[in-house]
Assembly symmetry: C2
DNA sequence: GCCGGTAGTCAACGCCCGGTGACTTAATGG
DNA sequence: CCATTAAGTCACCGGGCGTTGACTACCGGC
């Protein structure tokens, strides 16, 4: 006992990146308000002061996280005709851990803090919705893109609120099936 | 100046009810964390201490608000064949003020605070989903009910995140149309 | 007309948060 | 091998929160 953990090698850039990663992870799992600077710092194994030093304010860190998130492009890669099935499966079954939808998760977790939502609103449109709408294409692309993303987020929220879906695995499977159809229809027009 | 507002007549029951109303209103507009006891008290025109006195803790007040919310039964009243159109219109256009979906709004705003979500999870299922599923009826009622409510909440979240939808009125109208179809299809099976 | 109890207020407490400046420690170049 | 400088820590501040106990003002009954 009293054995010290080996101190992290002194490397500002790596530490900064580690902090950013930890913050992204935290913000994807908990809301803006629930995540504390001390939590993030603790994940990395540094002092909370360092986080402030590197990223300025908490809001600055949050926007940095948003910027560092993939702009949802994973949604659009892969076979387009499989879009519904693929996304439905991910949003229903993915344990929110290694999911590709981290950016989306962070966005919906920001429903709550007024500050976080302002920041999300600023980046959300151009970084996510507009590219997505462009990919969706066709008649009323903006409307259909918004409809699709709303449906996806709705499922995520619903899972959050009920803690899982409290449905049987078989029911979940059928839900995925139904949702896949809905999403695919939206995408196809 | 120095004119005092007429003091509210001393009536414990009425004051208690007023506090509950104000709290419900607040929790429907802002997240659990963003709403302060002092805010609620201020809305009613009483001291924050009184809120604590009447309802115990903030969590107790929140659960009292949840209990006081209509269990979403407004969703189910009215012509069933008009369900999709009616709900879609409400969730897209309703300024979240006098909407019938206040309970739903509060639920989705609780995505954030860990504490609030626990409380919502406790009451959400039996008070909202189960009756709704019963009303939906038919094959896979639970799945379809969850799908419908997820869709509705998704739209609400989406509106929150983007602050309105940043779509033109005409586009909003078309979105309502599309969403109405989706919802109606879910309900009809 | 006073008086007891209840409705409501006031001031304060303890807590936790984000943020800052002074300090310590480790790596690096000569 | 040491000086310098960057990397990281520590103690602490100010502020806002929920909550509490002591206080005040009102009102119905004698």
């Amino acid at each position: 006992m009293f054995c010290h953990v080996p101190p992290r090698p002194r490397n500002a850039e790596a530490t900064r990146a580690a902090i950013l990663d930890a913050a992204r992870e935290r913000f994807a799992r908990e809301s803006y308000d629930d995540v504390g600077m001390r939590d993030i710092a603790g994940d990395v194994g540094v002092d909370a002061a360092l986080v402030s030093r590197y990223f300025g304010s908490k809001e600055d860190l949050f926007t940095a996280v948003l910027d560092s998130c993939s702009n949802g492009s994973e949604l659009m890669e892969g076979d387009r005709s499989e879009f519904g099935r693929r996304v439905a499966r991910e949003v229903v079954f993915e344990p929110a851990k290694e999911g590709k939808l981290k950016g989306l998760l962070i966005m919906l977790r920001s429903v709550g803090s007024t500050k976080a939502m302002e920041l999300v609103q600023r980046t959300g449109s151009e970084r996510f919705f507009n590219p997505f709408a462009a990919w969706v294409g066709g008649e009323d692309a903006a409307v259909r893109a918004r409809l699709a993303s709303a449906t996806i987020m709705g499922m995520a929220v619903s899972r959050e609120i009920t803690g899982g879906f409290d449905l049987s695995p078989a029911e979940c499977e059928r839900m995925v099936g139904r949702m896949a159809v809905i999403l695919q229809d939206i995408i196809d027009g």
